[in-house]
Symmetry: C2
Subunit: 587 residues, 2 copies
């Protein structure tokens, strides 16, 4: 049982203000214990939260939240903040571990201003908070807390540029733990290093060059030192940076030593009797292996990612092997796309890997830098699909986002052989910007090599021929399509046609036209948002015909940690429910 | 007739290398004359091109394009480059004025690398060009030419951050004319000013802080001085900045004195006998007037734009009147949305004005900072619709982009009264993020005040009741819907129903259901891309019914300066062509 002697006395940030530095030091220890236990139990962000404990205590000691307003960036480092602002039972009592989200959430507390999970947003949001305060003639401090590599994102830099010009109180705390999720990249981080090495004294100071007042706290895990500086900047009337040096994973030696691995961990990672994870071939390992082989045989192939190499299995061995054929641009998806587009245009063969949720950060670059220039980039979109994820990290919007941009080819493979064929075709071709929706389901292998020529665009594949009902089942949902076909056969004797569209960016007009001959209903299945998605293109095609079309996917909404089964029921994504709808339409 | 004595001797950049500085000075004069005449004849970017003449000459004198590669940012300052790279007849002969686009265009010349019109892209693209060179083991310089306020965009800052870390040759020329399109904003520009004022010597140097080698050229309109510095940095193996101070509009006194007005001009602006533009009420003047009144009566109302105030009629009088209730964030659309979202969340009433083409730059902020937080922002989207614009500035994609984001309410007014009612409702309500597609057609007034309660979402309005055929005509295309109805009546005796949907983000299920009673065909009309757009939502609704639905809008493609009439024919957007389709479906 963790000790919570100090924490027991604390019910709101106000209680903190009566404490001594020694008590706050002990409090930090208690908070750390709670975080370690909880995160190891249910998984979550370990390193970032352990590093920010003292800074969070010091902020709440000096400032007066919620009158003074603290705006979190990315906000996965908000666990200590939640403990200090009335939500400690979400950490002390394992029964309540799932009560609060892992991100700031205004519906939970008046101390949380925004729901934030994508990064680089705090400076911009804080500018708006400060300006609203000034317009309304109110008082109070506005503090942005920026950390974990968030500085390299375009929005952060636009925000800093504008914050610096705000003629008013705004305090931006840069939590510098010398890490993005992986190591840092880019000139800004070189400057942070210089500032750390000179105790903040270097003349060449990125923040000062923008016009900020600048303070440096070398001991960012020391409450007293932090309080000292926060007291100085409190109620400033100038845009001010407080650059604090913290230790990611502070207080848990394995996390201190393995900063990247302990950024976010799975449940049980610290358990001594933890079973080693069995290595199973999956789409991630397949991609990793493909890139390792391909880069070896072709020196113009290059893997690009934006600050999340771990997601793709790009461990240090992978990075070292690739050497100059690997670029991590840091958290900078816009740059990643423009950079990759130029690489492709100039004859190199970039493979840009990105999570569905983060591809949103680069729409204009996809449209202008990439597709308008028709550069033959290969972009691999991971995790696309309906899930029980936090609202901040949904991966349901990439089909509408990507597939309505002209020139783009968006492919949805359904098995290993198809995936590898598409991947290799994409890397070698020079005609189109290509995105591939990497399946986020267990790997299926047909055992038969796929020799399709994908340069013939929008050719759907009839996997099993039938009549009356045609099921067009894209990507992840091909298996659902197969199950539906089997269910319809078994329960009702229908012999449905099963179609694997493979392309999400266009329709196979000839095939769809032919279906009219002996089909009455077309079912479309896609693992993502219906609005603006793939199925609607099929429905539009049949708009002037007698064909009935039923589209299945997710509805337009932000869901927040809703179990997948519940979502499948809500969206009627089971063979039983779809069959019900079909029956209703045959009446 | 302009003198082209020097230019006559020049057919490619190679010819430049034999010239003396005096000849190049004369050449600059000749080029300037040609630009002034052409731009005044057909309209275009005046100030940027006059400012960059000498730098373009110096670049082509020192470097060896296309082996050395020059990457243009925004690229509206490429006219001198076009003249020097084999396309001078597009400037010397008025018959050829329209032969070349106003932006870099790889299809025109091997000296143009990318099609670029949105800003802030050059550093990122140049990184990719440089890296491709290195991967392929090639030699040569890569030069990015950045100007006109492009530095404040997130992509530019991500690009600079990464360029600084590139262990190789890359030269970024910062064309500093002390202006974005309007005046500059933000800390970066304060630093440029400091650097100008200290002849590049200030210790506090934004570029050096990122790790760049840095050179300053005070006389950026002096070929000899520019050549001197370009010779020094040529073949460098380090990321290098050349900061050149130029004069926007250089050589045309009226443009030197009115930098913002002469950034881009209409044909005939310089003509002495030019007729003063007659002031007609339009949606721009209406909005301007609304904001002027509203900000006066409510001190929490604030107008926000991102570096293009002129587009919205936000002249200096407007800005001065609004004072603190006006923010131009510079070219930084991502910040503009996040900042405005926070303003709205904290009880202020922001009105963010943005062009359809540039709203693309802020998808993730619309989704995460705005809609996920459900902040009651008012966003006014200008120029949305099919047009004969350059491929870089199409405004056909905003409906798919905006309307598939959860929580967003996207409204399409069809007349003055509706627009004002929607605008005022949006500013005063606190429930939804609202975007309004400001009509880009001549203002129509019904003369009857619109008292609709727009908080009842997705209520379509039956403007004229009929049978058999229902026409759902959104926004700009409401007039086309009316014409179609009249045409159908006159030619075929049909009495079609005419519906004004008003909402683009959802459908009126009750109304659509009722149409089934006495209608057989629904026609949807929208002024933008069909894929992922409004009409497909209607078609999906009717997928399981016998209703036929025909969707009209633009197809998924980048068009480039295609006359509007031609596009309307291509997309069948005339009463005659749509009637043909209807007839075919009634057979």
């Amino acid at each position: 049982m963790e000790s919570t002697i100090i924490l027991d006395k604390l019910n709101s940030p106000k209680d903190l203000k009566k404490m001594s530095f020694n008590e706050m030091k002990d409090l930090a220890g208690e908070i750390r214990e709670l975080i370690i236990k909880k995160v190891n139990t249910i998984g979550g962000h370990m390193g970032p939260n352990l590093g920010i404990v003292e800074a969070t205590i010091a902020l709440h000691y000096v400032f007066n939240s919620p009158v003074d307003k603290i705006v979190y960036d990315v906000s996965h480092q908000c666990y200590p903040h939640k403990i200090l602002t009335g939500r400690k039972e979400g950490f002390t009592n394992p029964d309540n571990y799932l009560k609060y989200t892992g991100y700031t959430a205004p519906e939970e507390s008046e101390h949380d201003l925004f729901k934030v999970g994508h990064t680089s947003t705090a400076a911009s949001l804080a500018c708006g908070v400060a300006k609203a305060r000034d317009l309304k003639g109110e008082k109070g401090n506005v503090i942005a807390l920026v950390g974990d590599g968030s500085l390299s994102g375009g929005e952060a830099l636009e925000g800093l540029d504008n914050a610096a010009a705000l003629d008013s109180n705004i305090i931006i705390v840069i939590n510098d733990n010398d890490m993005s999720i992986a190591e840092n990249h880019g000139g800004v981080y070189d400057n942070l290093k210089l500032l750390r090495n000179t105790n903040g004294k270097a003349e060449c100071n990125f923040f000062k060059s923008l016009g900020f007042e600048y303070y440096y706290v070398a001991e960012g895990n020391n409450v007293e030192k932090l309080v000292e500086t926060f007291e100085i900047v409190k109620d400033t009337n100038k845009p001010t940076i407080v650059h604090i040096k913290t230790q990611k994973g502070c207080g848990l030696s394995v996390a201190e030593q393995n900063k990247e691995a302990f950024h976010w961990i799975l449940p049980g990672t610290l358990d001594e009797n933890k079973q080693p994870v069995e290595l199973v071939e999956n789409y991630t390992s397949l991609t990793r292996e493909y890139i390792l082989n391909k880069t070896k045989e072709d020196k113009t192939v290059i893997a690009v990612n934006a600050g999340t190499p771990g997601v793709f299995g790009f461990d240090s061995e992978f990075r070292n092997t690739l050497g100059k054929q690997y670029t991590d641009v840091g958290i900078a998806e816009e740059h990643a796309v423009a950079y990759s587009s130029a690489l492709a245009k100039c004859g190199a063969k970039p493979i840009f890997t990105v999570m569905s949720s983060f591809v949103q950060r680069t729409y204009d670059q996809l449209s202008q830098d990439l597709c308008l220039n028709n550069s033959p980039l290969t972009m691999l979109v991971y995790w696309g699909g309906i899930s029980g994820a936090d609202a901040t990290h949904l991966c349901t919007f990439d089909i509408p986002l990507i597939s309505n941009i002209p020139n783009m080819v968006y492919l949805a493979p359904t098995n290993k052989e198809e995936y590898l064929a598409m991947l290799n075709w994409s890397v070698e071709q020079t005609q189109y910007p290509v995105a591939i929706r990497v399946p986020n389901i267990a790997l299926v292998s047909t055992g038969i090599e796929d020799n399709t020529d994908y340069s013939v665009l929008n050719k759907f594949k009839i996997e099993e021929s039938g009549e009356e009902i045609a099921i067009i089942a894209a990507g992840n949902f091909f298996a659902l399509g197969k199950d539906l076909k089997d269910y319809l056969k078994e329960k009702f004797g229908y012999n449905a046609t099963l179609i694997n569209p493979r392309f999400l960016t266009g329709i196979d007009e000839d095939l769809l036209e032919n279906l009219k001959q002996n089909h009455k209903i077309v079912i479309t299945l896609e693992d993502g948002e219906l609005d603006g998605g793939f199925g609607e293109k099929i429905t539009r095609f049949y708009g002037n015909s007698n064909m009935k079309v039923l589209n299945y996917g997710s509805i337009k909404e932000f869901t927040d940690r809703i179990p997948l089964d519940e979502l499948y029921q809500r969206y009627r994504l089971t063979p039983e429910l779809i069959s019900e709808d079909i029956q209703a339409n045959f009446k």
